[in-house]
């Protein structure tokens, strides 16, 4: 689909086009300065910072537990996973000294997997729905958003919020599940699986959609690694790497995560690592998340009366440890819907972090934009942005 046009030989006059910061297909305030030669992109320079909120600086000013609500804002499309990444990192820091050891209750670990995977489902629904919408298919987007509402309803019952949850805390989760939560989640998943079949009939197997995505912006496995692509973007290029399976945190090691990879799903026109592969890998990951939620519900121990019970509780006592955490540094990687969400945390032994660093998937995905956009059609730029599932607050932080 994207012919290898030698831009220098075209001889035309280049035109500079500002795409964004207010453009519906850039999924937020991302600005791309695109130089075009006719319809072909000659250069694409992303411009960032429109949504910079100094979250890493705020991390140096607030106490350990007070930073959790800010992690929601790092990536509000998957706030549960963002909470989880920070909390797992702080727990690992505390566990590096036996004096401040934290044991997260088993029930809390199961609840964490349930909410994180539900949030992965809703985040991937936004990704695939928005990509379909960018390519002109408005109906699948509405179906995806309708299903996302189901996840939001579950979360609203759980913690009162629909977007920024502040639910996962250091040492556990904020509230225990209510009595019907497991049954309601199962009921949602049952109807959701049927709905996904319809969604796939509507867009995934649609020939026009496939032709728009097949063979566009092919990224080789070596390039994907070198440019720091993570998550579904990396796996779309066929690199077999998922932190939930390969460096498990929480109880993911017990769940046997299966990792779908890109394999030129679009058929004859498709190539491994094209836009369609990244799209389909997300859909397959949704199926895997459904399985993980069910597996975590099966493992869920019954609630104990006590919040800090090591099995049936939901919140370990950490207040004392967080006043005097161990001195040192830690790096933790977790698998968020947009790939590796890694925290580097430096502690000087006080109740305020010395340095909090968030490494997010969308930020590094932008570093490959210029390379991958050169030589494709201008109309395919939105396909590429959609296939990377860019969330701008995650880029700018």
């Amino acid at each position: 689909m994207s012919p290898d046009l030698a831009i220098e030989t075209l001889g035309g006059e280049r035109m500079r086009l500002n795409m964004g910061p207010h453009h519906p297909a850039t999924h937020g305030v991302l600005r791309l300065v695109v130089d075009t030669d006719g319809e072909v992109v000659a250069n694409c320079a992303p411009d960032h910072g429109y949504l910079h909120r100094a979250i890493e600086k705020i991390g140096e000013c607030v106490e350990w537990p007070m930073f959790v609500p800010y992690t929601d804002r790092v990536d509000y499309v998957c706030a549960m996973n963002a909470n989880l990444a920070y909390c797992v990192a702080v727990e690992k820091l505390l566990n590096s000294d036996p004096a401040t050891k934290v044991i997260v209750p088993m029930r809390a670990e199961c609840i964490r997997v349930i909410v994180a995977e539900l949030n992965r489902i809703s985040s991937h629904l936004v990704a695939v729905g928005a990509m379909a919408m960018d390519l002109g298919g408005y109906t699948p987007f509405l179906h995806a958003i309708a299903q996302r509402e189901g996840v939001n309803d579950i979360f609203e019952k759980l913690c009162g919020q629909r977007l920024t949850y502040n639910y996962i805390t250091i040492g556990g989760v904020g509230f225990d599940l209510h009595a019907n939560a497991a049954a309601e989640t199962e009921a949602f998943l049952a109807q959701f699986e049927k709905e996904m079949i319809r969604f796939n009939q509507l867009i995934t197997t649609n020939t026009i959609f496939q032709n728009r995505c097949a063979g566009v912006a092919v990224i080789s496995a070596a390039d994907a690694v070198a440019y720091g692509l993570v998550g579904p973007n990396l796996r779309g290029s066929g690199v077999d790497w998922d932190i939930r399976r390969d460096e498990p945190y929480g109880i993911y090691g017990q769940l046997g995560v299966r990792v779908p990879l890109g394999q030129a799903f679009a058929g004859r026109a498709g190539r491994v690592g094209d836009c369609y592969d990244r799209f389909v890998v997300r859909l397959l990951e949704i199926n895997e998340s459904v399985r993980l939620v069910r597996a975590a519900i099966k493992l869920l121990p019954p609630a104990a009366g006590k919040a800090n019970d090591p099995v049936g509780g939901f919140q370990a006592d950490v207040a004392k440890q967080l006043r005097k955490p161990p001195k040192g540094e830690i790096r933790v990687r977790t698998e968020a819907p947009r790939g590796e969400m890694g925290y580097v945390i430096v502690s000087d032994g006080s109740k305020v972090p010395y340095r909090v660093r968030v490494r997010t998937g969308s930020f590094t995905a932008c570093s490959i934009f210029n390379t991958v956009m050169k030589g494709i059609f201008l109309a395919d730029v939105v396909t590429v942005i959609g296939s990377f599932d860019i969330v701008v607050p995650e880029i700018d932080r």
Partner: protein
């Protein structure tokens, strides 16, 4: 191929370089027992290339490149340097390595590794923007988060909060930053030498 422990990685790295050109790498441990490798700034590109290309080491991925200001970290001995930290990962062998380069506060220039790992282009721009460390040989070293005309490096521990930006006040009348740092030089290298 199997994952190597930290000591084995360092041993291999020492073995790869001919004795005459061996960079002065030092193994260190953080306060909570995390091992890392101190690399002299001038040797970072050489070390990085070997780490990436050696078949036994195979660090094809730069997971993260960040840094922090050591000014107020009670280390022994105390330091005023900016630590630049490289987190490497090998997808083939499944092992990790942490490298650090110490950049002096005022004249901090570190050779860019963006020719080794292209993703470093973005990471180094972020470190340059927020910590004011220059990366020599970087193809496009300019601010990435903050506006181009911003003054200072916000993540430095002696950063002075500006009261206004281009005539737009950050504070209401009579309000002041409760704990604005008082130490430090307003002319940090990041704002002195604009790219």
């Amino acid at each position: 191929m199997s994952a190597l422990a930290f000591a084995d990685i360092v041993e291999r790295l020492r073995a790869v370089f001919p004795a005459a050109t061996l960079p002065a790498i030092e193994t260190k441990t953080s306060d909570n027992g995390q091992p890392w490798l101190l690399v002299p700034a001038n040797d970072i590109v050489r070390v990085a290339t070997v780490l990436r290309d050696d078949p036994v080491l195979g660090f094809a991925a730069l997971c993260d490149l960040t840094g922090w200001d050591l000014l107020k970290y009670a280390a022994n001995p105390p330091s005023t340097d900016i630590a630049i930290v490289y987190y490497l990962h090998s997808l083939i062998h499944r092992h990790h390595l942490t490298l650090k380069v110490l950049a002096p506060r005022d004249t901090g220039t570190v050779p860019s590794v963006s020719s080794v790992w292209p993703v470093a282009n973005y990471f180094e721009r972020e470190v340059f923007d927020l910590l004011g460390v220059h990366f020599a040989g970087h193809p496009n070293l300019k601010r990435i988060m903050m506006p181009d005309d911003w003054i200072g490096s916000p993540l430095r521990k002696d950063y002075i909060y500006p009261a206004s930006y281009n005539g737009i006040a950050h504070l209401r009348d009579g309000q002041k930053f409760e704990d604005a740092p008082t130490r430090g030089d307003a002319a940090a290298p990041a704002q002195a030498a604009k790219p």
